[in-house]
């Protein structure tokens, strides 16, 4: 795979005080693919996403794509959506365009309207986040992430707190919109094995290192010994 079509992470390290969270992460993430980072809670998956997005500066290492340093333009979908309660759905979606760039009001309105239509949110455009369902909030957050036409969207546990049916509909939404808009997905999730169905690549993060990197099919065919308890958790009697 050519360097221009990958997001390269080299030696990414991050520590909080004495606690080393990322101990040197090397990854080549193909642009246009869906990569899911799995791992136990507290292993630094969200920290890795925040390092990629620039929210947290890594202590060491580099992120690049092609000849350019840093990640290409990326949007971030937060666990709790991070929508602004005092803004309507359309104001939330328009926010990145209203506050940055030079787009005129009419152009912003048109782009927001188009996107809301594509994500079946037209009826909710004047509603506040508190007035819509959890699934709709996810779509609004996705619309806000998409409005700037990013190359990469980072999803931080997008199905947290959702029932199995809604979980699948969120995964379905991510898969279908990725196909339609062509962005790269880097997602953190605990939903194993469900995420294997929509992912092209799986990265298993454990103890600050990537312990597995490859396709979900290979992972299921030959799972590393250490990963087996995570893939097939068993109840233990107390």
């Amino acid at each position: 795979m050519s360097e221009a079509t990958t997001l390269r992470l080299r030696g990414i390290k991050k520590a909080f005080g004495e606690q080393v969270v990322l101990g040197g992460i090397d990854l080549d993430i193909p642009l246009g693919s869906h990569t899911t980072v799995i791992g136990k809670s507290g292993t630094g998956k969200s920290v890795l996403l925040k390092c990629i997005s620039g929210l947290l500066p890594p202590d060491a290492g580099s992120i690049s794509s092609g000849d350019s340093k840093g990640a290409p333009p990326c949007s971030y979908m937060f666990q709790q959506n991070a929508l602004f309660d005092s803004m309507t759905v359309e104001e939330n979606v328009a926010l990145p365009l209203r506050e940055k760039g030079k787009a005129k009001k009419a152009e912003i309105e048109e782009r927001v309207s188009d996107l809301l239509g594509q994500l079946d949110l037209t009826a909710a455009r004047k509603k506040y986040p508190a007035e819509i369902s959890g699934g709709m909030k996810k779509r609004v957050a996705l619309a806000r992430a998409l409005i700037t036409n990013p190359e990469i969207i980072l999803f931080d546990e997008p199905t947290t707190g959702l029932d199995p049916q809604r979980k699948y509909s969120v995964f379905d939404m991510i898969r279908s919109y990725r196909k339609r808009f062509g962005f790269t997905v880097i997602m953190v999730s605990h939903d194993v094995p469900e995420v294997f169905e929509i992912s092209d690549k799986i990265a298993w993060l454990d103890a600050g290192q990537i312990k597995y990197w490859g396709s979900p099919e290979d992972l299921l065919a030959n799972p590393p010994e250490d990963l087996k308890p995570f893939l097939n958790p068993q109840l233990t009697s107390v």
Binding site: F78, L95, R98, E99, R144, T148
Partner: protein
């Protein structure tokens, strides 16, 4: 014991440094924003218009009580005719700016700190970062500049209604001559007095808005416990620190004004 004092001192200096850096960023971030007028108008409504009723109520009752108290003090020296002057100078120079600032902190400052704190916990501030929107410029700067405008105006309202409250007690209730009341004010209150009072209001506006925003913005680091409890803790702290800062700065500014 010594190491504990040392740790506390380092923490205090570091916090003051963070506050100074935050203040500098908030002061200069407004020009980089889009829709400045819209943001300023909204902030002026929150800090200014919404605080008008409480300012007028407190101002009126402060004037009423002051008229009553000063009347009985001045009667002892047969100087009731000085009531207007005493009420006006007390309110314009001290009580007006201080009480107005404390009222605004109680209403708008606490709301500001809690709102920003909740936005921090809901990852909305991180979301602004990822959208390449300067969160301090978006959330804090418009409020800071609105406070610079609103505090002196609200203080003027307080002064006027307070002086009128003194009139109601002194003249209407206790029988002081109305001509003496207004003439004494006209003779004794200079433009410099009014200016000095408004300078205090402006400084209180800047200091309290920055303290309240700072506590909310860094609620995840300042609170002992994260989450709702943390927001409540930093909001309380914002009000307490702001109230103390008002009195400390009142003393400092008065000292400078008296020394001139």
């Amino acid at each position: 014991m010594i190491s504990k004092i040392g740790r506390q001192s380092i923490r205090l200096v570091s916090e003051l440094g963070e506050l100074a850096s935050f203040s500098a960023k908030a002061s200069v971030a407004l020009p980089g924003q889009r829709h400045i007028l819209e943001k300023l108008t909204r902030s002026l409504f929150e800090i200014g218009v919404r605080c008008v009723p409480i300012t007028l109520i407190v101002g009126l009752f402060t004037g009423l009580v002051l008229g009553l108290q000063l009347y009985y003090v001045l009667t002892k020296f047969s100087s009731e005719s000085l009531l207007g002057q005493a009420v006006a100078l007390s309110i314009i120079l001290e009580i007006g700016p201080v009480f107005t600032a404390i009222m605004i902190v109680g209403q708008a400052g606490s709301a500001l700190s809690a709102e920003i704190g909740i936005q921090r916990n809901a990852e909305q501030i991180d979301a602004l970062h990822t959208m390449q929107i300067n969160p301090i410029g978006f959330l804090v700067s418009p409020r800071l500049w609105a406070a610079i405008v609103a505090f002196p105006i609200l203080t003027t309202f307080f002064d006027l209604i307070g002086i009128y409250g003194g009139y109601l007690t002194g003249v209407e209730l206790l029988g002081v001559d109305p001509g003496a009341y207004w003439n004494r004010i006209y003779d004794a209150v200079s433009l410099q007095n009014i200016f000095n009072g408004l300078v205090k209001a402006l400084v209180f506006g800047v200091v309290t808005t920055l303290i309240c925003s700072f506590q909310g913005y860094f609620t995840h680091r300042k609170a002992d416990i994260p989450g709702a409890r943390g927001v409540s803790q930093t909001t309380t702290r914002a009000v307490v620190y702001s109230s103390i800062a008002i009195l400390v700065f009142d003393y400092l500014i008065t000292s400078f004004q008296m020394a001139k």
